[in-house]
């Protein structure tokens, strides 16, 4: 059995039988054995979060420091807290912070949304790219770029699109359905309509307007408006604890429904909240960054790998998502500087081969 496979029955057995030592773990990893078992495993998830937090801080420093004017990462971090040269403080806080914040928060939101959806559907392929919300955000943003006359900025339109799609999908799917499948597929279908509408608008628009709109079809962090970014940041700050609480409950939904119910979980209500949370997080993220792919698929994977199979790794997934997005944006900005590659292109190019490997590798541990 793959160490990553979260076989519901075995983990259930250990959950219910704490006296028996847990021997299913491979050795030499994050597992430190003191005291009670549950403490051990929390420790592993906690250490994973700490490690990822460290990586996040390093990436924030690097991202804030790189650009036309190079600033050492430590100076950049100091400047973030109003220390050091005035010039650096201006560059970091007034020019670069919005972008880094946008990337980090969008990545964190997508990572959390992916983790929630994957745990709920017990499927590693469920992810925020496929529930149609990003298609809707793209369609609305493209509409505002190619000339449906509106005073709203594209990101405002994207947010409206995301909210519209989220409520529409909820209304039409009539709730989450078993494992959230009904919601996922309804979103997929509605997303297809939005995708067709986007293509239609791109084809009808004059070529210049269509070129302006293309970044919204792939996801970019360039020139984001401060309001939507702060909306996203506040959203993540508020929703992260909620997601962590829901994640703890979701751990029990890995068990068969009847068992979870007898343990006191209101399964249907939990499903509803999970999907509402995942949808809101995705909506906020795509309103800022556009449809950045692969983050919601890959971040929970890394989170699980680091945090181990015992917890639903909400916080590690969020941090991993933030790291991935900031790293992709950093690469996109610096690799072919001064030409800038949108972050969505980097994630697609790096994530594509990863996805193919993911889909075609030998079917071990497919079940969540």
């Amino acid at each position: 059995m793959d160490r990553l496979s979260l076989n519901p029955t075995t983990s259930a057995a250990h959950e219910l039988n704490l006296a028996q030592p847990f021997t299913g773990q491979p050795t030499g990893l994050w597992l430190l054995r003191f005291g009670r078992l549950s403490l051990l495993l929390d420790r592993r998830a906690w250490l994973a979060s700490l490690l990822l937090l460290l990586a996040t801080v390093v990436l924030v420093g690097l991202s804030l420091g790189s650009g036309t004017v190079k600033i050492a990462p430590l100076d950049a971090l100091a400047a973030l807290f109003n220390q050091g040269e005035t010039k650096n403080i201006f560059i970091v806080r007034d020019l670069r912070l919005t972008r880094v914040l946008a990337g980090g928060m969008a990545g964190a939101a997508l990572g959390m949304a992916g983790c929630l959806l994957q745990t709920l559907s017990r499927n590693r392929l469920a992810n925020p790219d496929t529930i149609g919300i990003d298609n809707a955000a793209t369609a609305f943003a493209v509409a505002s770029v190619v000339g449906v006359s509106t005073t709203l900025a594209p990101s405002g339109m994207a947010l409206i699109g995301a909210i519209t799609m989220l409520s529409l999908t909820f209304a039409l799917s009539g709730g989450a359905g078993t494992r959230g499948y009904r919601f996922l597929i309804t979103g997929l279908g509605l997303g297809a309509i939005c995708g067709a509408a986007t293509n239609l608008m791109l084809a009808r628009a004059p070529i210049d307007a269509a070129n302006d709109a293309f970044p919204w079809t792939i996801g970019s962090l360039n020139d984001r408006s401060g309001i939507t970014v702060s909306l996203l940041a506040w959203g993540v700050v508020i929703l992260l604890p909620l997601a962590a609480i829901v994640g703890k409950r979701l751990n029990l939904v890995r068990l068969p429904d009847a068992v979870a119910q007898s343990l006191g979980v209101r399964v249907n209500r939990l499903r509803f909240f999970t999907i509402l949370l995942a949808g809101s997080l995705t909506g906020l993220a795509v309103a800022v960054a556009g449809p950045v792919g692969m983050i919601g698929l890959a971040a929970p994977e890394l989170g699980r790998r680091l945090a181990g199979p015992r917890t639903v790794p909400i916080v590690p997934s969020a941090l991993a998502g933030a790291c991935f997005t900031m790293l992709a944006d950093l690469l996109g900005r610096t690799l072919f500087s001064p030409t800038e590659i949108p972050v969505g292109i980097v994630t697609a190019l790096v994530g594509g081969p990863y996805l193919l490997w993911f889909l075609l590798r030998t079917p071990r541990g497919k079940q969540l």
Binding site: L125, N127, Y181, G189, A196, N199, L200, I207, A210
Partner: protein, 336 residues
């Protein structure tokens, strides 16, 4: 075999499908985005009479369009029926599984590398479809057949969104390609040149022939892999055949009309509703119903937003997506 195919239900189904097809072809010839040329004039033109404008409209616009619609419908309808039978999954559809996306991405890449839509190589589209199809069926094998229909669709969705991102990358960096492809990528059967599809037709016919040959083994495979092996079929070979056939069909359809989704979802479902789940019958019905669906969507595309036309890809998504939602909303997914 003969007794299976010639039941009364099948006979009625085939006759109904033919009737529908005839009506839809007449509609496709007779309905335009304006009301200038009606059926009477169409018949006049087809008999060699009629004024110049009517001749131009009918012979150069509507007839080619109808022919392409029929071909695309045959290809996508039968490809959908095959895929659904092979994956034993009512949601297995070339568009949803990423087969069309693979084909479209390959075309975009080839155009970025210097090809042109006018002399588009069908081979490129087929190659892309083959990749998409092999990934899709590879995933279907892994997740356990008939085990979980949604898992396959999620894999396809992930694959599609990745391929769409690759296309976007190219369109973002290459203005010429973007300008050339953006009309093609919505999926439409209007304004295509008849001469440009001649290379696609033999491929399509080959794919269809393979599909018809595979009907019988697939019917055996529907009983389960072990039973099929016991009956003398070779499941691996059959699956490879399905892959090649679907790639040929979807590739040629995409080369002709661009990526068009949901045809392969709706048509086989209608076919099964009419003649039952046996793939041998459903495939024949799908071949007949596919053109009707495509042409009907195309006729709608001319009249929903008169005087402009709405591309076929948009209409088929508008029809297909609600049907997808309805399937998922039904209490349990119909097993295949």
């Amino acid at each position: 075999m003969a007794t299976t195919l010639l039941s009364r239900r099948m006979l009625i189904g085939v006759l109904a499908a033919f009737g529908l097809l005839a009506i839809v072809i007449l509609l496709s010839l007779g309905v335009g985005s304006d009301n200038a040329i009606g059926l009477a004039q169409v018949f006049a033109v087809l008999q060699g009479a009629g004024d110049d404008q009517a001749r131009l409209t009918v012979l150069d616009l509507r007839v080619p369009r109808t022919i392409i619609g029929v071909l695309v419908g045959v290809a996508l309808g039968s490809a959908g029926a095959l895929l659904q039978a092979a994956a034993r999954n009512p949601l297995a559809e070339p568009g949803l599984l990423g087969v069309s996306a693979g084909s479209a991405t390959a075309v975009v890449v080839s155009i970025a590398l210097g090809a042109s839509l006018n002399n588009l190589q069908v081979g490129v589209a087929i190659f892309g479809a083959l990749i998409g199809c092999s990934v899709a069926l590879g995933v279907a094998r892994m997740s356990g057949l008939g085990d979980d229909p949604i898992r396959l669709v999620l894999a396809g969705a992930a694959l599609s969104s990745m391929l769409a991102a690759v296309s976007s990358v190219i369109l973002l960096t290459d203005q010429r390609t973007a300008d050339e492809v953006r009309f093609w990528t919505i999926g439409a059967i209007a304004g295509r040149n008849l001469s440009s599809i001649t290379s696609a037709i033999p491929v399509l016919l080959l794919g269809l022939a393979v599909a018809l040959l595979l009907a019988r083994p697939l019917a055996a495979l529907a009983l389960g892999e072990k039973v099929a092996s016991g009956l003398g079929q070779r499941p691996k070979l059959v699956r490879t055949g399905v892959m090649i056939s679907v790639a040929l069909l979807v590739g040629s359809a995409t080369a002709m009309a661009g990526p068009i989704g949901f045809v392969g979802l709706v048509v086989p479902i209608a076919a099964r509703a009419m003649v039952g789940p046996d793939i041998r019958r459903a495939l024949i019905l799908a071949v007949l119903l596919g053109p009707s669906f495509v042409l009907l969507a195309d006729v709608l595309s001319r009249i929903v937003a008169r005087p402009t036309e709405t591309p076929l890809g948009v209409i088929s998504a508008l029809i297909g997506a609600p049907i997808l939602v309805l399937i998922v909303r039904s209490q349990r997914l119909p097993a295949l």
